[in-house]
Symmetry: C2
Subunit: 610 residues, 2 copies
């Protein structure tokens, strides 16, 4: 379907916004009036610029407080409207958004509002303009799309229809099913925004915290399905007021926004097909589809890059990893333990302290994965490969991490043979990569929360705040439904990010063990010094849980930390941090599915005194 | 009175927090349990450290979910409590905070909760510990201080009393007057926090947005007055969960927190004296007082510092300022117009682009102002003065701006004669400094909002968000009650601050004129080029207001912007920005009391394309 974006979603000048929307592949834009008012370009220039960029100007917005007013106020409304309609003619635009009255309404009567919309429709028609009337969630009298539609129906004017905005409907918890009763030709426009589940006043929520579809808690897929079932075939248009996107790079946000609609169109098409499997293809909306993929079966590898990877090698050796040799053509080594494979890369790494640079996913269908990544217009990552080597398709995640994929195999993947002069894999207590914890800049975390689900079919699984000595760390988890891939994202406190402190950029690789006590002893015997946990922690543990004193003494001796919930137990310990990276070793007992978040403050404090 | 602060208010390790609390002059601290658990120091070390720092350990907190539970759960509560009471003995502590149950309560019955508190009190008494029971605003059953007191009364145990927390009472809108009915000896502790007026769930509000007294919207003065009238004479203790203070410099936040209590004690003493003018001095609580000051009568001067102030001189000349000469002993010049005096300072300014470095206030009683600044433990600013020169007492505001004060005089102040070789003051359209707009780093804006009112008796007057092409600018106004001193504070979007962009640090000096149209013409004739305002702005103005076409043409010709409300009109124009500074010229017509905030987005966009 045709796609559009409101200029208010993006940072910069109106020129910047139009250029970015066009480059990202949008078909049109909504012109947010304050952007035009502040622009040095004349309306004629904007019209010509949009034309050159192949963008349609779909909706002029917003016109506020037009109905429910007394006669004197309505005269002022008409004065304002005539000026705006004349301006729209200069822009070559024919559709204006009128919001339900929040400020000047004094008459709470559908008939009265309808009569005023009808009168406004008469004026609009003279200018070739149509009015899309929208119920704001905080409208003084009209705050429900069903009432807005009743008023439009009463107005009964060809130039007056409704605008539907997912935020205003879903934030109020209104059931969108009745959208299907509105005749298609009276739905003049559709605005889409997601939002996190917040308990706050709806105006602040709307003005500061909207998100692009797929990033929040609203069922945008179901919402759009209702609108399409009503027969709407106009643009899918994004209107996202968000404090972060107002600041971030214009072109990047536009590309991210466009990706959210690509994901949404596909998800809606699947929903419609599920709901009505035998539906008529002719009547179906022209939704563009994505190649289907299944979530990764697990981590194929984890890559750490540094000018000198020796300190990481030392840690891996102490933990029981096997050195599998050096790559045939690159200054890259492979270490493995169980199915956990860690690639250490010294190529193009001058001046780089150890950092987690790439993740490999083991997927069922690499070709499908490649096709989907391309359809989502993801930036490609590049690594040179030679004829006899396994090709390495990859994309760059919003935070710069490179994401590779390769076909899943029961044994070791084909690319392992490219590493030479190493040892055969030895048995160890380590079984598998449990999770990878990434530190996200606050500017990109929302984009990331859409990126992994859209590209790799991961799912978003909750959010928590972790206190550190330097502020709260917001933690959000992405995972595959079976838990084989788990990626907690941590957003460092702004002051830590501003100061470029290393503790704002800790990433870690967590490795799951069969017997963590055995591993901890073996590793200590091989010289590993775990992160020291304070004695006070173990006193508190004894107060919180009825663990035997001998077990607490053992945990304390090995610097193991402990968590328990109704489903099982979680035991883990950490290494020191090298560059930006540290390792965690974990054992999950029973069905424990968390990450020991309660222990993170102790870990963060201990890392602060390292 | 004795003062205390919860360690959770501050960033850093427990050691850092204790050192900062002591240095700031607190008498004691509340030990926040997670801080102790994460600390490498043993309880004995913490006890000895506090002792060396002359800090008492006033309250161990929090112990959660102790009452309203079934028998099995209560056995676990007692296990946990014994361990904690033993720990408190090692710390030498005798008071613990128990919050009303949020998680495990299943019995909604005062008698049941009272019986469990009584049983807990028996155990506590064996360890020499007392329990301060507090109703959390989001307690499952007990969420009101009046019910917490009923339960404590029913428990009827010498080791069981209440803890009162201003946030939990005032956030729910509960009337604090009934505090006066609680016997003093049963109020075991008092926790104080302010908060902004937010409409959001009370748990998030409490965990992220508390403020120090005087920075928010709660009537802390009235609240404390009730508690003191009840007879409470224990510590005034701060417990402020705030995402910013968790990150900012520990010592600085502690000093800021201590200042909030100095201000609060004085304000409470005044309130108590007002309410009961003839009250018995013997029974009065020992509140420390501040020397009284009245708000400044106006701006004495504004100082701009730069290595080369010539570009500013050129602007001032074009605007009609008179060059009043060079200071006798410093590389400093004075420019004036009406009562507006601008000091240009090239001393110690190598590499400095023009920035607003100091503000002088004209006050009624400079000696009282100096005494009050010292009592509030404000950092002093220093400028060398010679024997025959007017002394320059000053403090440094949280954002680094130096704030001076001198006695108010009808004519020019005495220090003007220190400037030589200048011209006599010529008449001009400019009358007075209207306002000074400062850009605040997000880390210090809350501190600033307390600083000016506490030190200079300014008042806080509202907050608004202004969209810019690079994100939302939060704007808050401090002013004297008569409007003679007005200081809008602007908080730049984080990304602008992170990138150190100049547009994140625009400061401006607004000068009020008798006839702005005349001034704009004169300035243009003298070569001033105002900031260009786009034509679209004037088209929009015509749509919004019924101004005569000739007037709009005149505004447009002179790049004047316009605002109007029910009380009057506001006309203004801006200069280009030099370094971090620009000038605004304003005319207020009628009783207009704002700042043309609606025009700020247009100005910000125009500055972005300069």
């Amino acid at each position: 379907m045709k796609t559009s974006i409101a200029t208010v979603c993006l940072s910069g000048s109106l020129r910047d916004k139009l250029a970015a929307a066009s480059a990202a592949g949008f078909d049109g834009v909504e012109v947010f009036e304050p952007d035009l008012v502040a622009a040095p370009e004349s309306p004629e220039e904007i019209r010509a610029l949009a034309d050159r960029l192949s963008l349609t100007l779909d909706l002029y917005q917003p016109m506020r407080d037009v109905e429910g007013v007394d006669e004197a106020e309505f005269a002022r409304v008409l004065h304002r409207a005539e000026a705006k309609f004349a301006l729209m003619q200069r822009l070559g635009m024919d559709l204006v958004l009128c919001c339900s009255n929040v400020a000047t309404a004094t008459v709470d009567d559908d008939g009265h509002s309808a009569a005023q919309l009808r009168a406004l429709g008469d004026v609009a028609a003279r200018y070739g303009v149509r009015i899309a009337f929208e119920a704001l969630a905080w409208g003084r009298y009209i705050d429900d799309y069903r009432r807005a539609w009743r008023v439009v129906k009463l107005a009964d004017h060809p130039a007056v229809g409704v605008c539907l905005d997912s935020f205003h409907v879903l934030s109020r918890g209104h059931d969108p099913v009745e959208i299907e009763r509105i005749p298609a030709e009276k739905i003049f426009f559709l605005q889409l925004a997601d939002a996190p589940a917040l308990s706050m006043d709806v105006l602040s929520w709307s003005r500061h915290h909207r998100l692009f579809p797929g990033e929040g808690a609203f069922d945008l897929v179901g919402f759009v399905a209702h609108v399409l079932r009503a027969g709407y075939r106009g643009p899918l248009s994004l209107e996202v007021f968000n404090d972060t996107f107002r600041q971030t790079d214009t072109a990047r946000t536009a590309a991210h926004a466009r990706r959210s609609l690509r994901w949404l169109e596909d998800a809606v098409a699947r929903r419609l097909a599920e709901d009505a499997p035998g539906a008529d293809a002719v009547a179906a909306p022209p939704l563009s589809r994505l190649t289907a993929v299944t979530p990764p079966r697990g981590f194929d590898f984890v890559e750490i890059t540094a000018e000198d990877t020796s300190p990481i090698e030392a840690l891996l050796q102490q933990a029981g990893f096997t050195a599998r040799g050096r790559h045939r053509t690159k200054p890259v080594t492979l270490w493995s333990a169980g199915t956990a494979r860690i690639v250490l890369n010294e190529q193009h790494a001058r001046g780089t302290a150890p950092r987690l640079s790439a993740i490999g996913f083991a997927v069922d269908d690499p070709a499908a994965q490649s096709a989907r990544a391309q359809e989502l217009d993801t930036p490609a990552a590049y690594r040179r490969t030679y004829a006899e080597e396994v090709p390495l398709p990859a994309v760059v995640a919003p935070d710069g991490t490179e994401l590779y994929w390769a076909g899943y195999t029961e044994g070791e993947p084909d690319w392992v043979v490219e590493f030479e002069h190493g040892d055969p894999l030895r048995p160890t207590e380590i079984g598998v990569v449990d999770h990878l914890s990434l530190t996200e800049p606050w500017q990109v975390v929302d984009e990331t929360v859409l990126f992994y689900p859209a590209v790799f079919a991961l799912v978003s699984a909750g959010s928590t705040d972790v206190p550190s000595p330097r502020g709260l760390v917001q933690s959000r988890v992405l995972c595959s439904p079976d838990g084989a891939v788990r990626i907690p994202l941590n957003v460092a406190p702004p002051i830590v990010a501003e100061q470029g402190r290393a503790d704002g950029a800790h990433q870690h690789v967590a490795l799951r063990c069969h017997d963590i006590v055995a591993l901890a002893r073996q590793a200590r015997d091989r010289g590993l010094r775990p992160l020291r946990i304070p004695a006070n922690y173990y006193d508190d543990l004894a107060a919180r849980f009825d663990l035997p004193a001998a077990q607490i003494a053992e945990l304390r001796d090995l610097d193991l930390v402990y968590d328990r919930d109704a489903t099982g137990e979680y035991l883990h310990f950490y290494t020191a941090t090298v560059g930006q990276v540290f390792f965690e070793f974990v054992e999950r007992r029973g069905a424990y599915d968390g990450y020991g978040a309660g222990n993170a403050p102790v870990r963060l404090a201990a890392q602060g005194v390292e």
